[in-house]
Amino acid sequence: MSELTFKIIFIVAIFGISLFVAMYTTYAERKLAAFLQDRLGPNRAGPFGLLQPLADGVKLFFKEEFIPRVSDRILFIAGPAIFMCTALMTSAVIPFAPDLEINGTTYSMQAADLNVGILYLFGVVSLGVYGILVGGWASNNKFSLLGAIRAASQNISYELAMGLSIVSLVMVSSSLSLRDIVDQQSGWSWNIIYQPLGFLIFIVCAFAETNRAPFDLPECETELIGGYHTEFSSMKLGLYLFAEYIHVFISSAVLASLYFGGYQFPYVSDLDPGLVKTLLGGLVMFAKTGFFIFLFIWIRWTLPRFRYDQLMNLGWKVLIPLAVLNVLITALFILI
C-alpha cells in the first residue's frame, strides 16, 4: 500500500468518522437534553432511538427544496457548501493516533503534518465565516443578514482571543505543528497544567466560534427567528446544522490535542509503536474528544444565552486582556 493510497483512504476515513461522530452528536445532544430536562428523548427509531439521526437525515433529504425567488441562487447554494467544506477541512491537521509502523513503513494517522498546523486551523476556521455570510446575505432576508453579520463579527472577535491564547501555548511548546505539540505531552505532562488560563480562554472562544450556546446569537430563535439559516430548508439546512456538529467535534479534538495530550495517556505513551499503541492512542483521543463533546452539550443545556453586547464585551474587554496577560505571564515563566 503506497503512501498516497493510504493517505486517500485515511482522509476518506476521517471524513467518514467526522460525519459519523457529528451524526451521533445530534443523537447525544437530544438524549442528554432529554436527560437534563427529565424526558426520554428520541426512542422510536431503532433501539434507544439509535437510528434517529439516520431518520432525520432521510427526512431532510426528502424535504422540499425551496429557494426564495429574490435570493441570489448561486450564492444561496454556495453558502452551506462553503460552510460544510471548511468544517470538514479542519480535521486535516489533527493527529488522531500515534504513527502506525507496519513492515518498516510508517503510516501517519494524520492527513497532513503541516509544520504550521495551528495556523492552518486558524485559517480554515476563519473561512467558516464565509459560509455563514454568503448564505445569510444570499437569502435576501433581514434576519438572515443580521444573523450572518452577528456570526461574522462574533467569529472575528473571538478569533483574536483564541489566537492570543494559542500564542502562549506555542511559546511553551515552541512548535506550530500539532503533531509536535501532542508528542510533547506524553504521560501526564499535558499542556493544561502549564496553560490553565489559556485553556479557559480557548474553550470559551471555542464555544463562540462554533456558535454554540451560550453564544448562539447568530441563530437566536427569539430574536432572529433562525438567524442566517432562516430561509434554508431541506439538506441545505441540514448542511448548516451538520457542519455545526462537525465544528463541535473538531473543536473537541483540537482542545484534546492542544491541552489534554491528544492520544497521549499514561501507560499508552510508554508502549512501543505498533498497532496496539495506535489503537489505544486513538481510543484515548476519542475518549477525550467525547468528553469535550459532552461538555459542549452539557453547557448548551445548562447556561442561558448571552446578550449580544455582553458577548462583545466579554470578547473584547475580558478575554483579550486576559489572553495578553497570559502571554506576558508565560513569557515571564519562560524567561525564568
Binding site: A78, N115, L119, Y130, A152
Partner: protein, 171 residues
Amino acid sequence: MDKIFYILAALTLIAAFMVVISRHPIRSVLFLVATFFLISAQYILLNAQFLALVNIIVYAGAIMVLFLFVIMFLNLSRDLERFASWMPIAAAGISVGGIGLLLLASYRGAQISTDTVGNYDSGLVEQIGEVLYRDYLFPMEVCSVLFLVAMIGIVLLNRKERELPAKLPLP
C-alpha cells in the same frame, strides 16, 4: 507535476479577471477570496507555508471579511453597477496596455538568473522568525505602532459627532 503551477496560474488569472469584470460586488469579493487561495497555493508550491497560511488568515480571513462586511452593510448589491463609459475604458486600456508593453520590454531586457540556491527551508517559520526578529525587529515594532495608529484612526473616523443642543439654554 509541474503542470500544477500552470493550472494554478491560469486559475489565478481567471479568478482575478473575474474580480474585475463581475458586476456584482459580492461575487467580486468571492472571486478575490478565490484568487487569494490560489496565490496561497502558489506559496505552498514555493515552500513558503508560513506565508501561505498568513496570506489566508490575513487576506481571506480578515481583510476580505471586512470587504464583505462593508458591502453587505452598505447594501450595495441593489444597484448593479454599470461600467465606466468608453472614454475612460479606452484610456484605461491604453495605459494598462502601455504598462504591459513596458513590462514586457523590461522583462526582455532583464537578466533573470535561473540558478537557485538549495535552501528549501527559507520559507519555514523558524527561518522567517529568525530573520524577522534579528534583522527586522525595528520595522516590526513600527508595524505594531502603525496598527495602533490605524486603530485609533478608525475609532476616530467612525465616532459619532456629539450633537449640539438644538437651542442654547437661555441664561
